[in-house]
Subunit: 371 residues, 2 copies
């Protein structure tokens, strides 16, 4: 989607892929280099065609490699910020240092005491998350009652002994105060190399089983206080970290409090609505930002929504579900093979009221899951 | 631009190119088949990968070949309508038969009398156009005064003897009453295979040296009468010809009269603004139409404009002019080699008033021509 957004401006793209990664979805959009063990940064840079700039579009990136690549061309966003965000403890520490609100948390490493950590943040309920390797709700434990502590502890024993099926590259967790939030909103912003900043109006996210299900924009009935806080959060983060590119911030709304839950140093699923619902898409703005061009208008009209299409079965059939194409409904199909729960596309919807939008999103859901 | 618009929906593309045609601008977007003399329709169909549908994106197409291809898959729009529009006499006859307004005209073939033809439409001034091979103002003669008749007649002698440098595959011309029009507007519409019809709000075109320079949307201060006529023209043409795809109609505004000047059976330069200024671009709507999907919303917000980037010199340098990228300004660069007057890109501009738009388009012009 980045390449499709940058192509009209005359930019050329090349891609670095993992050895076992399918590159079907980018096939034809540019030269693809498959990373091989032992390849030096210089070899990669040359194989990519000596690009003017390198960027990232996921969080699990090889930070040391990216740092080496900086000797050859700029890497945006900086590998340091990607490194910070890769670890929930470092991520929350950054938010805290910048004076922005987040839920109270403490960290436990190895066999450190969980009860102490829980007490340090005022007791149950808490959510425990591995500091790394968490994605779409993996490696998380919700502890509402004391007996649920035991469940985590027995999991922890297995993990420490290396007997857990869950991937844990680091043996540490954050223990986070569980927030009874009213809703989650996302704010997507961009900063170009020169420091110009822009952001989109916040959207409201609905998750199912830890996976983003829908985003609606503008987040309905958002108070001016919350909206101002969201704008302050994104601009502070972009400015204070000297960021270049698109950054996404997921926050919990609790009354007039806005607590940062997660950062994503990249174009983000909750910003996919911008492809059809804003003057400039987050993808074009990311390309503009890292190419140090003026950022595009983020203006949005009416109401917009995004519905993820999650794989239902294991299948190699990549036929697009064109029945989802409607007058104010736009299909984005990634051409990926399907497996249950995998994001294989999304649908953007435009409407003139929140009620109309809700109906349309529900009909997308029905059509997708009943098909 | 068609392929970039269809890609997100999961469609795959292949291209048929002329032997000496540069395919740089589509490089990577799909398999390109270069037409070789003697290739049969079946061979072409197979080389293209047995597509579900074939479409066209220019007017100078090989109609007999397209008709043969219909034996293998649908061709939209139908080769018959492309054939009709390829010849100005057939084109104007179609418009006339459908009861739509056009400027009075007569046809002369070979050595037929020009004075008779001029008299048949009420005398000077007239515009003479070759019935075929006319593009961007080529092969046209404006006759305001009787002495200009002689100039055409001496050109005609050379053409009939085969000594003219201008291409004339047919030795016939239409003699058209010259219209003192106030302005030219374009109306772009689409019809899908099932017969659903939609159209964009008309835009106003400014030409320079016969080449489209800018389009602004909505055409300022268009009367309700003219707007209703424009909508009637496009829907009549789409419906009565059983058209599938995007059709563009260029019209002259003369008071409350709207005279059809030209049809284009394809996505059109005067609809390029839709890429950034409407809910759905003309390119996506063309793909939707020929794939028989519901057409996309043509809604447009504020005012929008398009400024063509014409080549200034002969050059192989395809570096994009990224200085033209601005917050409400979008660069579309085709990656073509430059030659004077060649369309090598365009810039779309969004604004909140016609005054602001005019200023922005003027600054694009200045920036492009002064660079």
């Amino acid at each position: 989607m980045l390449a499709l957004a940058g192509w009209p401006m005359g930019f050329e793209f090349s891609f670095l892929a993992d050895p076992r990664e399918s590159t079907r979805c980018i096939s034809g959009l540019g030269n693809t280099v498959t990373f091989a063990n032992g390849m030096s940064a210089e070899e990669i840079y040359k194989a990519l065609g000596q690009p003017d700039v390198i960027t990232i579009e996921r969080e699990a990136v090889d930070v040391p490699l990216l740092k080496e690549l900086k000797a050859f061309c700029p890497v945006y966003p900086d590998p340091d910020i990607a490194w910070t965000i890769q670890n929930r403890h470092r991520e929350k520490s950054l938010v805290h240092e910048l004076g922005l609100a987040t839920s109270p948390w403490s960290r436990i490493q190895g066999e450190e005491s969980l009860p102490d950590a829980i007490e340090a943040i005022g007791g149950l309920p808490v959510v425990i998350k591995s500091t790394e390797d968490g994605y779409d709700g993996h490696n998380q434990w919700v502890l509402d009652t004391p007996d649920q502590i035991a469940a985590f502890e027995s999991d922890r024993k297995l993990i420490l002994k290396g007997e857990s099926k869950h991937k844990h590259s680091l043996l540490e967790w954050i223990v986070e105060k569980k927030i009874s939030f009213e809703r989650e909103i996302s704010v997507i912003g961009a900063r170009n190399v020169d420091g110009d900043i822009t952001s989109y109006i916040p959207g409201e996210n609905v998750h199912q089983n830890g996976i983003l299900h829908t985003t609606i924009v503008p987040a309905p009935k958002l108070s001016e206080t919350i909206r101002a806080k969201a704008e302050n959060y994104i601009s502070t983060l972009l400015e204070q970290t000297g960021y270049a590119g698109v950054l996404a911030v997921e926050c919990f709304v609790v009354g007039d409090d806005l607590l940062i839950n997660e950062l994503a140093p990249r174009v983000h699923n909750s910003g996919h609505w911008t492809m059809d619902g804003a003057d400039t898409s987050q993808f074009e703005n990311h390309v503009r930002a890292i190419a140090n061009l003026p950022l595009g208008s983020t203006q949005q009209y009416g109401v917009a929504g995004m519905h993820n299409l999650l794989g239902k079965t294991l299948s190699d059939d990549t036929t697009p579900p064109t029945a989802l194409v409607k007058p104010k409904q736009f299909l984005h199909w990634y051409g990926k093979t399907s497996r249950p729960g995998r994001k294989i596309g999304h649908v953007n919807v435009l409407a003139s009221s929140q009620e109309e939008l809700a109906e349309k999103l529900e009909s997308v859901r029905k059509q997708w899951f009943d098909a």
